[in-house]
Amino acid sequence: MAGIVFDRVSKRFGTAEVIRNVDLDIAPGSFTVFVGPSGCGKSTLLRLIAGLEDITAGTLLIEGCPVNDVAPAKRGVAMVFQSYALYPHMSVYQNMAFGLSLAKTDRRETDRRVREAARILQMDHLLERKPKDLSGGQRQRVAIGRAITREPKVFLFDEPLSNLDAALRVQMRLEIAKLHRALGATMVYVTHDQVEAMTLAEQIVVLNAGAVEQVGAPLELYHRPQNRFVAGFIGSPQMNFLPGTLAAAGADGVAVALAGLASPVPAAVAPDGQAAGAAVSLGIRPEHIVVGDGVAAAGPHGRIALVERLGSDTLLHVATQAGHLVVAAGAATKARVGDTIRLGLPADACHVFAADGRALARRGATEA
């Protein structure tokens, strides 16, 4: 087990700065997931840990030792690639034993480790096959097995499931979680898939344009996003944002005036130094908007422009006077396109973001 520390790490390709001054602490034995939009630098960050890219500035420590100048194979890390990157001309066994044979590991020890990895991943019967004779899921297993045989302190996964179909992805996701429990090694995982991030991670790192936006447990990011970017990135469907101005700011909460609404919408957040009159945006998740007869007449209302029935849920796209809102209305809703609907925005579900994107601290928001 090994912890990883980024100490003001930067990476430049020519003049483009792809990683900016990242400070990050990854606890030993933890499961950390890097998420972010494409091009945010999450894969580069992973490749910096692996040593496949050189660090331009700052220090990277693994187990407390600076590894900036340590060769990838000597860092005690193993990596699983998106395309699996199996050696096509070698059998499964040879693929898994290749690293060990280069490290001049004793033949019997190599054999023991390969068979142990094969047993963990339940692919004993595949050892003599070539990669081309394997299915996508099996190839992924071999790629993971190749990492296991090296008995690394840190496992790195670079979008390992994105080439698999949906059903297999769910299954492999569970297996990786199981593997983490069984091996207890530090795992760092890059994905753009929110569900993978939320279900696998103990700690999620949200990246944007080469910088860390927020680090935290999955539900912490969901309930207490520190800024508008994280709020919009975590959660599916995306959080709604409505432009407005701060109508009142007090110790027990604020109220946000929205276009076309007679009375301001109260939100249970601390003013954080923002005074009445400041431009803010009000954020609320689709699943937190209340629909139905009990809703106060003061809330936004509008025509339903689009209905998406997902089976387990129904998404209503509503054009209100305050702006466009997506509402998760539950599977049973009878709402149809063209209906006029009245919406409620509960004060304790509202997020408020200052003009610079920073979130105003929420009061009493639960972690669960």
């Binding site: 496949l52 194979a73 193993a78 690639f81 050696y87 690293g99 280069l102 090296r150």
Partner: protein, 279 residues
């Protein structure tokens, strides 16, 4: 048998065109075989089929001249040229395809432009070079000079092929602790079979058939390669061209090439189309 979706006349025209192309490409070689199997007297008539099947020309090729030695010379030169070319171009291609360095594009263009000079243009300079190295009238001199046209070609093809191999494969090898040499020899090389066979074979054919350098840089009959030896065949008198012998010798030296191509046929096709489509 009509091709689906085409009328009978169109199909007939198609096969007629195929027949024309086959005759056009195969006829010269057939004519050589035909002539080689005829007696010198028969050669004066146009016969479309060698009724006598006289193998005298074949036996005669090895009489009174070191033609066997010439064949061995050709084999030696061609094999050595191919071997050295592939070894050099493989390492060069690894650098050109996988290592980022300043002037890489320029270097590739320079290599390509070398191959554009006609052989005659470099003949004089090459002659001086070979003489100063003490390789005149030596097979090693031929090997050295042949690499001037085999290397640009093999470097380019192998560079292109290496570029097509996925980056993550190299990353995986690095993570497994492989250095550049191990990555090249144990990960990339086994995947490059088709490219190596194709480029190697084309380089072999070029070296095997080369005439101008072989004529210029060798002097004695025992150092000659096959194309020059055939051109130097002389008849019983100054006025006789030993046509049957020349044809027999040509057939003898062409057959190995055809056999080679047939043996590697499937790999050549996959080598020539490598990189055209993914997978």
């Amino acid at each position: 048998m009509a091709i689906p979706g085409r009328s009978r006349p169109a199909t007939a025209a198609f096969y007629a065109a195929v027949a024309v192309i086959v005759v056009y490409t195969v006829f010269p070689f057939y004519w050589a075989v035909n002539s080689s199997l005829q007696t010198p007297q028969e050669l004066f008539d146009v016969t479309w089929f060698p009724f006598s099947f006289s193998f005298g020309n074949y036996a005669h090729v090895f009489d009174g001249q070191p033609f066997g030695r010439n064949i061995l010379n050709s084999v030696f030169v061609a094999v050595l040229t191919v071997g050295i070319s592939l070894a050099l171009s493989l390492t060069a291609a690894h650098a050109l395809a996988r290592v980022r360095f300043r002037g890489r594009g320029l270097l590739l263009l320079a290599i390509l432009s070398v191959s554009m000079f006609p052989q005659v243009a470099v003949l004089g300079g090459m002659y001086e070079l070979i003489r100063s190295l003490g390789l005149y009238n030596s097979l090693y001199g031929l090997v050295l000079s042949y690499m001037i046209f085999t290397l640009p070609f093999t470097v380019w093809v192998l560079t292109t092929f290496l570029r097509e191999l996925p980056r993550e494969l190299e990353d995986a090898a690095i993570m497994d602790g492989a250095g550049p040499w191990t990555t090249l020899t144990r990960v990339f090389l086994p995947l490059m079979g088709p490219a190596l066979v194709t480029t190697g074979l084309l380089a072999f054919i070029a070296a095997w058939n080369e005439f101008l350098f072989a004529l210029t840089f060798t002097l004695s009959d025992s150092q000659r390669t096959v194309p020059v030896a055939i051109a130097n065949f002389s008849g019983a008198s100054q006025f006789e061209l030993p046509w049957g012998n020349i044809m027999a010798a040509s057939v003898i030296v062409t057959v190995p090439l055809i056999v080679l191509v047939l043996v590697f046929q499937r790999r050549i096709v996959s080598g020539l189309t490598a990189g055209a489509v993914k997978g």
